[in-house]
Symmetry: none
Subunit: 256 residues, 4 copies
């Protein structure tokens, strides 16, 4: 199940979520040039052609444009599909179908399914962080940060429910080759660390009573993650009220 995103640091801007579906841009401009040099008339000379070769690093931004747009489109469709049918039922075929492209395109733009899934996770985590940052930065004190975290998180749930559903499914299923759970794909669970930090500060400031910050942080995140599930069961759920109630809950749980 999903996960709170804490680190208010470098996230992708939310606009990225707005994926352009129609793309039509130029590409690299490596062309072939030729020169005839130093050939005195009537003497053997050398015709020198220089053939274009691909550079090792993408030199221009332009070329990344269409590439990135497609990748974004595919990632976006993957989010939709995962959220809708679940990780287990998600196949490249289904994603391609939703994107209206052929399976091969995905393989062309991503090294494989794993990379795509990884990108999806990072995409959602990035969006969530960016969304939550202002909520947290505005906070005057430690509990304000907790409140901001809760409200920001539920705000994102409301705004991009799909994304969190998808991420939750991915995290619940992310396993390495051995089948062992990968509990922290894409640093998603950084949230707990962030919360822990807030809680410690509150304790130091005397705003919070003594408690295990680890248990408290874990429980806050768990409570937030549980909301996606509630939303599925009751799509009409009032997230604003839910956020208020959670803030209240953890206010009583933490206050000195």
């Amino acid at each position: 199940m999903p996960i709170g995103f804490g680190d208010p640091g470098e996230g992708r801007p939310d606009e990225l979520a707005a994926v352009p579906r129609e793309i039509s841009i130029g590409d690299l401009r490596y062309t072939t040039s030729h020169c005839v040099r130093g050939r005195p008339p009537g003497r053997a000379g050398r015709l020198c052609y220089s053939l274009a070769m691909r550079p090792d690093s993408k030199p221009v931004d332009q070329k990344t444009f269409i590439e990135e747009a497609r990748r974004a489109q595919i990632v976006s469709c993957a989010v939709e599909v995962i959220a809708e049918v679940g990780y287990g039922q998600t196949s490249l075929a289904r994603i391609a179908q939703r994107a209206g492209i052929s399976k091969g395109v995905i393989s062309y733009h991503f090294a494989g399914k794993d990379e795509l899934i990884q990108q999806v996770a990072e995409y959602v985590v990035g969006n969530a962080r960016a969304y939550m940052r202002p909520y947290i930065e505005a906070a005057p004190d430690a509990f304000g940060q907790i409140r901001g975290f809760i409200e920001g998180n539920l705000g994102f749930v409301g705004a991009h429910r799909e994304q969190l559903l998808a991420l939750g499914d991915i995290l619940a299923n992310a396993r390495d080759a051995n089948g062992s759970l990968m509990p922290d794909i894409s640093g998603a669970s950084g949230a707990i660390g962030t919360l822990d930090e807030f809680l410690r500060r509150g304790q130091k400031d005397g705003q919070f009573r003594a408690f295990s910050t680890r248990v408290m942080a874990t429980s806050i995140r768990a409570a937030l993650d549980a909301v996606s599930g509630q939303l599925i069961a009751d799509p009409e759920l009032d997230l604003r009220a839910y956020a208020r109630d959670l803030v209240d809950l953890f206010h009583h749980a933490t206050k000195a």
Copy 2:
């Protein structure tokens, strides 16, 4: 992620859990899991289940008996496999392999993979309920019930970690044919209803302050469910202390 099991009511008796694990007789004496790993190579083994019978029960229907024993064995092996490699990597072949039987047996005893998974979920839920019942029944008041719920739940996590891991994976992946999440497979989440009831009673008795019982119940269960994840990250986790901290957390969160 897993789930708390509350209803202290009609669970399957705990012995059922033992059927496929404790084996008493036969020319070879293995537990179900030993049978695969520890069988002397080159010899066909025989898993021999002996089921306790009440003296004055009527003649037993053999068919039902062996049937049930097999089902229990398969369910038990399925739990192991799911906990180990994850739902997504769990195939009938792997389960059969672990049980030392052929794939066909599973299809014979279960209508399909779905039914097997369903049975696994019910099996774990039943065990968890039976395990938690005494914790809860001994409680003198509403918060005592909450405390019992938390302690019983974490006790079960400690005693049968595998089962909860498996259940968690199943619930995270349980989907109907359409791909929609089935948030309440096998009535597992009955837990929330039970908790809700306890909380209401506490409010009525004046032991608890006013709060949304739904949000509180959901958060308690979420906090409990999160523990499996913590256990994976840190297998040395002190569950007893964790339980104490959680009880403390929700004591402050609920008390009048």
Copy 3:
């Protein structure tokens, strides 16, 4: 291109080539038995069921029967396909199609394409050895062995042209994961060692002149291998005459 097979040792009997295409045989007989022991009437007893478990090693030959028959059938069809369309164009689908079975069957009986190909190579090598053995064993002296080798080899080419074509294609394409040639899959090239031995003996006996046995052995085998190619170009090629000419050639090349 193909290869001579020297080692006159343990080959499969030629009959193996006659693959039964219709199969219908019994299988393992592991059934479930049950016993009620020592239950004095009216007292609690123990109903003891013993459930069948697969043994680790295949205990009976019967079970291998159908299995082996299918494997043989598939190997046989693979030979045909490879000989006909070439290694590069040979897919499991084509083999399955020729065998009138579904692709899955092949995967069921062989660990993968690699194992199948390996089996094909071993099958042909085994047949060739078995075929050539009597030719060589009857030889009175070193050159008699060379003669037997040549005649046996060309005899096998005539009798099972397909098999050598297939083997040749496999050997020409057998590469490990890195793409490096695997020059000696299934010990096929043991032939050179065998020839080398014959040649050394002839030199020791004074029957042969001095020469590099390695170069001579390699050339003999190469000359034999080239025959398959000639056969393709000219299906009417008189193999008996060809053998006589080759024997003559290497008689002059080796004689003291």
Copy 4:
């Protein structure tokens, strides 16, 4: 496996072999293969071919020129790739990657993969013929021609092992659309005809005894072709000695 090239007639000039390998000018100076491996990372490179021109040739058609240079570059890279990873593992993508160009370029300059492969074969055959011609032309008599053929062939193997490995792989896999072997792609096996001619002349001159010239020619070529395989197994193989031994072998085999 490779093939001897006999016809000392119309081969492409040896320089062609050099076109894509020796590069003289340009801001960057790499050979074709270096360009991929040794290009300074992050900089676009330019492969610059300079083609020798006769002083009084008419104005060169640029189109043809650059076209030919590219084709030569691609053919050359194809040789490398085939020799390295084998025909079966050779894809246009891999060739393009080695050439530092995009896949499309290949499709642009060649009608398809088949034409490219055909060109590769012709390229190698042409080089081999050109290489061998002086060896053969210098011969005073029939056996001298045979000797020249053998020495020239092994000389080429030593000088351009890669090319023969590639050709061998191609010939072993060259099939038409139906999957039938194309035993004489690019007239490669013309070698047999050439040898046959030499042998007949020797018989007419009384230098050679009576034997089937076809069998003898085929065996000579086969013995030569086998050398590539020996080289793989033992890269330290002394080709000069090997040639001497082969000459000796066929001297005894043919002499009157």
